[in-house]
Amino acid sequence: MGIWDLEPVPSMQIIPQDTTATSPYDTVWTQVPEQQPEGLERVMLAEDKLFVVLAVVLIIWFGLLFFLYRTDRRLDRLERSLERGISQDPDESVVG
């Protein structure tokens, strides 16, 4: 059975699975949690773990945003040295 033969996620029904057949992305490493998830996990596991995807997207977004600010700081320095009419001290050129 191909994995795309299964129902799409929004139906939220429990799909009987033959765990001895192909195990995509691994059941070997996984232990089923015994107790109810708490704290951070309760948030992340809600909505069929959709918030995990949100967290991943936000990490990328903030990472790129942070990088954008770093580039901006370099532009600020350039503008300042243009205003002062002198070149910047190479020793001060910050890495990154």
Binding site: L6, V9, P24, V52, V57, L68, T71, I86, S87, S93
Partner: protein, 239 residues
């Protein structure tokens, strides 16, 4: 060093602006489809299968960046053109950031998908460990750069080191991790392009995301090259 004032413009600004606009539209579509299209439901994975569109392209992008950086380092050694050195450094920097984002997104994905109830943030999964090693090797490139003051010498030493660092990438990201049992797919072949591992409905979005992130890399990288070239110009020709 060559006089930068006689240099012809290193960047085609019209192309840059067009690509920048295009990638904005493209990635908006990718993110929309990534969340809105129905995907097959698998136990454990559930909606986190959608991370395929975000976590995996980070690595494709990092690899593309490393190849771009290595290409410019090789060209620097062949031509001694300082612009090549600037390009190599900036491609490496942006690639490094994509690598870090790949690691961080992988940590969060694994923690709340496979390690639920166990509280494991880092499990020394072979691929995870090997890319961390690669990022350390690659990070040394920047340390090396900042430790040499003389520009020509810095450019040459850094270019040679960069070629060595880039040469470790295929082994640390492809060869070694696929020899060991891992949370990651890939021991059986090439998961990104195989017929069975990836549902057809996810395929176009996945490939579109890879293309989109690589083009996004190119835009950020070009932006930083422009900045770095300006800095150099100001350094050499003070007003």
């Amino acid at each position: 060093m060559n006089a930068p004032s006689t240099r012809k413009p290193a960047i085609d600004l019209r192309r840059y602006r067009f690509v920048r606009a295009a990638v904005g539209v493209w990635m908006t579509g990718v993110i929309g489809f990534a969340f809105l299209r129905d995907i097959p439901s698998l136990e454990i994975l559930e909606h986190t299968a959608r991370n395929l569109y975000f976590h995996v392209p980070m690595w494709f992008t990092m690899m593309a960046a490393v190849i771009v950086a290595a290409y410019h380092s090789a060209r620097y050694l062949a031509t001694d053109d300082p612009v090549r050195d600037v390009r190599a450094e900036q491609a490496a920097r942006v690639g490094f950031v994509f690598g870090l984002l790949g690691i961080l997104t992988g940590i969060v994905w694994a923690r709340f998908t496979w390690y639920v109830g166990q509280g494991i943030w880092w499990n020394f999964d072979p691929r995870q460990t090997m890319v961390a090693v690669f990022l350390l090797i690659y990070g040394a490139y920047f340390t090396l750069r900042s430790s040499i003051d003389e520009p020509t010498r810095r450019a040459r030493v850094a270019a040679v080191y960069n070629l060595f660092a880039a040469a470790t990438m295929p082994f640390l990201t492809y060869v070694v991790p696929r020899q060991m049992p891992s949370l990651h797919p890939g021991a059986e072949g090439s998961p990104a392009f195989s017929e069975t591992d990836l549902a057809p409905v996810m395929r176009p979005i996945f490939y579109a995301a890879i293309i989109g992130f690589i083009v996004l890399f190119w835009v950020i990288y070009t932006q930083r090259v422009r900045t770095a070239l300006l800095e150099e110009e100001l350094e050499e020709n003070p007003l």
